[in-house]
């Protein structure tokens, strides 16, 4: 046991793991779901139903029951949309960016992060659609040939959103899929029944010969390079939704980087949450080791600092600027009716991450679970604090108004979490949530490292040892 902790304290992964063991572990995680799993599925389906019911009601009655009113034309829908879009960035970060940086500790955890990307995008995509007053005309935002021969307004950030999000969704789905092909092959070889058919189709005849691997690597690298600018652009465009408006508190130049950093931040926090959960429920202690958790936390901490810094920049630029209404909004954020949320956001977003500065906490999953969740609560509040206070306190004092969301709005936001959870639950049982082949690569590298320096020491010993006798080197006889 002490050995175990010692290992986990130092090594990303234990080089002694047999590849067969890896396969069996990961594949086991995909089989015979337990009671808890079904419970989780039922719960998320119920949440989803709440959302669907609210949306049906809203579709028939109008946006009124959401308590939207004249100054508050946008509210939870848009802020939650931004939140989910943000979530989606972490996957890309881990799988694409770190892939380029050859940070191989990402390998055991990038798969579910990538899945999270895809699913949160699918969740986010729902919101700009349902927030439309006339949902049945949503496709007018997409340029397509129609009898009327009219086109969307390409100056509008909302149209850019439509492009950006759909592109990004397609991209990340492909990336997720391509990355899975070798693993799907493994599943195929071990599956029977409908799974067999599914994996056979999806693994497109992968048999892992040399040429396939070479092309595979090329494609994967290509996709990674393609995805990174996409990820950055998506959230910059979402930021443009606000930055392009002239409203005080929105019309801020630093919004795009601010949004991107916030996105990565919330994404990483979400990864930590899922990391801990998967590690616990699927017994992935061997792969999702504490050192990796530690590294993820360090990454999160760094991004949190960047985010806080950009926050400060925004405050300063407003404070020292001449835009009086913007200043009023800023002051109101600190003192007005929304101040509890705003201060809460500052606490969760900028103070709480300092706990990640301590290694003890970084390596304590049970502690990290609530922390990471609170980080995300903070990030959700951030988005809400971008939308609501500005609208409640814009240029024209006559229409100043504080408004609290109605039940329909809450219902749909609530349902979106159920939707995400459902997708993710299905994923972990149908697809390997840990990348087997890459973990194998990782293990393989570790072995090489270990054995090579062992041989080196042995060699030096033979050179320097003339007659002198001491304890035989560990490698002797091996």
């Amino acid at each position: 046991m002490a050995e175990e902790t010692h290992l986990s304290a130092t090594k990303d992964i234990d080089e002694k793991i047999a590849w067969a063991e890896i396969n069996s572990d990961v594949l086991r995680s995909m089989e015979n779901p337990r009671m808890g799993y079904w419970l989780a599925v039922v719960v998320s389906i119920c949440m989803l139903m709440v959302g669907v019911a609210s949306e049906v009601y809203q579709y028939n009655v109008g946006m009124g029951p959401a308590q939207l009113n004249n100054p508050h034309m946008w509210d939870l829908y848009i802020s939650t949309f931004v939140f989910w879009i943000g979530m989606s960035h972490s996957g890309t970060l881990l799988s694409a960016i770190l892939h380029l940086f050859h940070a191989d500790w990402r390998k055991p955890i990038y798969r579910f992060a990538e899945a999270m990307t895809t699913f949160s995008l699918m969740t986010a995509l729902v919101f700009p659609i349902i927030h439309l007053g006339r949902v049945w005309n949503m496709h007018w935002v997409i340029p397509y040939y129609s009898d009327r021969g009219i086109w969307p307004n390409f100056r509008s950030p909302l149209v850019w959103d439509a492009f950006a999000i759909t592109t990004y969704l397609t991209g990340s789905v492909l990336f997720l899929y391509i990355g899975m092909i070798p693993d799907l092959a493994i599943c195929r070889d071990n599956a029977i029944g409908w799974r067999k058919r599914l994996y056979t189709f999806m693994s497109v005849g992968w048999r892992g010969d040399d040429r396939q691997w070479r092309n595979f690597r090329k494609t994967y690298l290509l996709m990674a390079c393609f995805l990174i600018p996409l990820a950055v652009s998506v959230h910059s465009i979402v930021a443009a939704d606000f930055a392009m408006a002239i409203m005080p508190g929105w019309h801020v130049t630093s919004f795009p980087p601010y949004f991107v950093s916030g996105a990565l931040y919330s994404g990483c926090a979400a990864i930590i949450t899922l990391f801990v959960l998967l590690r616990y429920f699927f017994k992935f202690e061997q792969y999702m080791t504490l050192p990796i958790l530690d590294k993820t936390c360090k990454l999160t901490f760094a991004i949190a600092m960047v985010w806080s810094y950009l926050n400060l920049i925004e405050f300063a630029s407003v404070w020292y600027g001449h835009d009086i209404p913007a200043k009023e909004v800023l002051i109101a954020k600190f003192t007005g009716p929304y101040s509890p949320f705003f201060l809460g956001m500052l606490f969760c977003g900028s103070v709480l991450p300092f706990t990640l500065a301590f290694e003890k906490i970084r390596r304590n999953p049970m502690l990290l679970l609530p922390i990471s969740i609170f980080l995300n609560v903070g990030m959700w509040l951030e988005r809400y604090m971008i939308v609501a206070p500005t609208l409640s306190l814009a240029y024209h004092p006559w229409s100043w108004d504080v408004m609290w969301p109605g039940w329909v709005e809450w219902g749909i936001v609530f349902g979106s979490f159920g939707w995400f959870g459902l997708l993710f639950l299905i994923f972990v049982k149908v697809f390997p949530s840990v990348s087997m082949y890459e973990v194998k690569e990782m293990v393989y590298h570790r072995r090489r490292v270990v054995y090579e320096d062992a041989e080196l020491r042995a060699h030096e010993y033979k050179k320097g040892a003339s007659g002198a006798s001491s304890a035989a080197p560990a490698t002797e006889g091996s």
Binding site: R134, W136, I324, E328, Y395, H396, P397, W398, S399, W400, D401
Partner: protein
Amino acid sequence: MSKIEFDRRDFLKVMGVSGVAATVAGCDMPSYITSEEGAEEVIPYLSPEEFVIPGVGVHYASTCLQCPATCGIRGRVREGRVLKLEGNPKSALNTGKLCQMGQAGLQTHYNPDRLTKPLVRKDGALAEATWEDALALIEEKTGPSSGLSGGRFAWLTGTISGHQSVLLKAHLESLGSSSHFVHEVINTRVWQAVCQDMLGQSMPRLRIDKAKMVLSFGADFLGTWMSPIHFSADYARFRSGEDRGMLVQAEPSMSLTGANADLWVALRPGTEGVMALGLANVLINKERMDASALPAAALELINQYGVSRTTKMTGIAGDRLIRIARHLKERSPSLVLAGASAAGHVGGYQSVQAAMLLNILLGNIDQTIEASGDFALPQLASVSGGTSDLSRFADAAGAGKLDAVFFDGSNPLFAAPNHLGLTEKFDSIPFKVAFSQFMDETTAHADVVLPMASALEDWGTHVAAYQGGDHEIAFQQPLMEPIYPGTRSFGDMLLALNSMRNPGSYDGLEDYYGYLQSAVGSIPGVLKGEDDEAINVSAWNRILQDGRLQMPVDTRAFTSNLSMDDMDVRDADPAFPYYLVPTPRGTLYDGRHANIPWLQESPDQISKVVWNSWAEIHPVTAAKLAVEEGDVITVTTPDGVLEVPVYIHKGIHVDVVAVPMGQGHEDYGRYARGRGVNPLKILQPGSDAKTGELALYGSRAALAATGRAGRLIKMGNTETQHGRKIVATITAEQQRRNEGDS
């Protein structure tokens, strides 16, 4: 005649569905939109006039009956539906302009709560009946066979004029009765009495546009006083140019006119006259104005009201008094007006008298107060009402002097204060017939309810009490055919009643329209035809197109008969430290517009409150009561209690609580019922000695916080501009300097 009749009536028919298609929402879900063949019907006219083109609106002139000012209107008629009302440019009174009440005339006409069938009270409850039954019952009770005669019968109406009033008088005479009670809550009776007594003319013309300064004691001439739209146009001229006039308004709580004043003075209610005398005192003793025009009695009365005493009684700083007096002297000609808040007291007559005295002292007579004479045809002239008739009616009813009463255009049971105990007295009257469009408080207590055609479906002539410049008869003509066939024209009813009393009269007239044509035709020198026997159709049509008929103005000069009585200012009762002011507003008026959704949702001009009642109090009072905006307070007078949410602003005297009249209906359709409170109910007894008008502004009240937060629905969430340049203000000097030419 009949030819015109036929074509008009056919033209006024509602055409097909083609126009009403607009009511199908334009852009809802795809499924809703009807554009496939055969889905809609389109029904053409039978044989329309040449100028009737579907899809093209035609404008017809008529007269607005939303308030007694009788402005001229023009209705846009399309496919037989009147869509919009505009002011009639031909009318000298409102020159093409209209107020919000006038605009909302449409919703009085199209109101979903209108009465459509006659109702007759059977064993305690009103039940639907046919016109025949209703009229038979009326004949039985008031016909020749009923033996009813003399003062046992009475009419109670609102302000009435023109040929309706002629026919009504004829009906009264046929019964040998002379008791015609004319009831208006918002009236100018006291002002008229004072003018009559001091100048010999009850309605002199007021030239606000000629005045360089207007000092108004609570005369809300932009909102509810006399003829607001006419005065608004004058006001616009008064305000423009290098000699831009100055408006000083002294009143207990801010009216719309007060909101536009250069100087608004919060005055202790009932001391208007004192302030006027104080000003006169300053003008004579400080400004050395020539007072030879004034009688000796008035002079020594004035001398009693030195600055110090005036200040003590009115609560206005002495230097301010002196400054106003100086302005009055410098800016001649000026104009001093006294409105409801001055007249509505026990000593109301004297207050108005004092104001008029000030006019005389300042030499405004024949300058800004012009002789207007009487209306050329006295039988058509406006019988303008007041609240004194209400108390007289209450007394008569209470004394059991009335057997049968007919009501029209007035809602006494809503307006009567509790102390009159009118409801019981009213129910004690054996036979009550209501000619009404709506089921209001009074109608609900009637024995027979006859549904009347709306103002936009009916014929009539009207004469304004206040004539702007040239005198005219305002013509009211139908803008569309009656929505409900069950309703009948008031004129037709009067004809029917008359011929019921003495059959044979008005023979050969098929209806009121015919009567009007012949009656107007008989006005000397109006319808100059080739032969005066036949109606000159073109001349008649011209009148209908103009909607106005010019009458000769008699230029009788003023006869001055100056007198002055001492002020009658009552001291506050310590148990009831506050003054209760039932503010009239140009929105719901005296409550008759509470059933109009547009006006219910149109924010109050001062407080911006909609759909509800509120009590205005000063921040100091609010601090005393420890209430915030929207908290509910109780307003208690010896005659009753109100529970209202407060609106706090500084446009009100510290000792005053103002509750707008108009809400608090128990029964006036879906939009009015059970909404807000009615301040008129809890007013205290007391009336002006001279005219007998109720002292509406003379009540005292005690305030108490209930600790509950009420529902105060306001438009807008700020009272201030937060330093932005939204409404910028400059001084009159700058304006005069730069806009001399205009």
